[in-house]
């Protein structure tokens, strides 16, 4: 039992976490004939809170309530795991990344989310605003334009052999590579 509790608190290896994520696909299909996808919940929030007579947001969002409940669950799951299932050790990453980031004054690895970048004080700096407000906007705009995110396209779409999802996934990765390697260094130097 103690072994299990110790193991639960460590980061899980990819060959445990990956298959568990994959199982979300049949789980949602079997418990409710639902296709796995998370970014749609952002659209349902728009439809529920401020449809503003925009055709894209005038539909019966209440029929998709399950998706909002699922999203709420992820929020709660994040809370439970961060509160009760962490052993408090620092995130270990590649030494090259550590030396690169220390050049930008990022040295705190105690939390999964870099405390030097994502906090309320940083939000009111140019760098923080670009990363949190700008980044969030790109995520919300891009996922909806692409018709899904990593869950809807990369996991659900690829699992059901949909080629548009493969195209989208390649573009997600391309965008990520461009940002992380070519643009982010300038933003982090601000």
């Amino acid at each position: 039992m103690e072994q299990l509790s110790l193991w639960l608190r460590q980061p899980w290896p990819w060959y445990v976490a990956g298959p568990l994520i994959g199982l979300t696909v049949p789980l949602l299909l079997i418990i409710g004939n639902k296709t796995f996808g998370i970014s749609s919940s952002l659209r349902h929030v728009c439809a529920a809170c401020m449809p503003a007579k925009i055709p894209f947001f005038t539909y019966e969002w209440k029929k998709e309530k399950w998706n909002l409940v699922f999203a709420l669950g992820i929020l709660l799951g994040g809370f439970l795991a961060m509160t009760f299932l962490r052993d408090g050790t620092a995130v270990t990453v590649h030494p090259h990344l550590v030396s690169e980031l220390s050049g930008y004054g990022i040295n705190d690895y105690s939390s999964l989310i870099p405390a030097d970048l994502f906090n309320w004080q940083q939000l009111f700096t140019l760098r923080g605003a670009i990363m949190m407000i700008g980044g969030g906007f790109l995520v919300g705009f891009g996922t909806r334009y692409a018709g899904g995110c990593t869950s809807g396209h990369s996991i659900m779409g690829l699992s059901s052999l949909q080629w548009p999802s493969l195209v989208a996934t390649c573009c997600f990765m391309a965008g990520g590579f461009i940002m992380a390697n070519l643009i982010l260094p300038y933003i982090l130097s601000i």
């Binding site: 409710g32 992820i74 994040g78 990453v93 990344l97 980031l101 994502f118 919300g140 996922t143």
Partner: protein, 134 residues
């Protein structure tokens, strides 16, 4: 609805334990410095594919007895343009929508602002949708 809440909770726990919610891990992935996230996404897709194949092959029904239906995704240019835009945001925030939710729940309260901004991004897309190439 409770079943979806529980499924979401399980998913959120896995995202955190996989460190998929970590900005550091995402940076590593986009610099090809670690296999971890590639292993996760790759094995998730393999398990998902086998599951969908089995469901179709064996004609497995949902618990309410309905035939399982997976709608087809139609290709449009947004898969490319939107995909690239999302990719840029993914590497900036270090999170796709699922991890954003888990981060906000996990105590990084400032991520609520990122989430709101993502909702705003979705709203603006809906607003200008007709003027974008699809």
């Amino acid at each position: 609805m409770l079943k979806y809440l529980l499924a979401g909770i399980a998913f959120g726990v896995i995202l955190v334990k996989a460190e998929l919610v970590s900005w550091f891990r995402i940076q590593e992935m986009f610099r090809l410095q670690s296999f971890h996230l590639y292993g996760i996404i790759g094995s998730a897709v393999v398990v998902g594919m086998i599951s969908v194949w089995l469901i179709k092959k064996l004609g497995i029904k949902s618990i309410s007895g309905d035939a399982i239906h997976i709608p087809d995704k139609k290709f449009h240019k947004g898969n490319v343009y939107g995909g690239l835009i999302f990719g840029l945001g993914w590497a900036l925030t270090g999170a796709c929508p699922g991890p954003l939710l888990a981060q906000a729940g996990g105590g990084a309260t400032v991520i609520a602002v990122t989430l709101l901004s993502a909702v705003a991004g979705t709203w603006v897309y809906g607003k200008v949708r007709e003027r974008l190439p699809h």
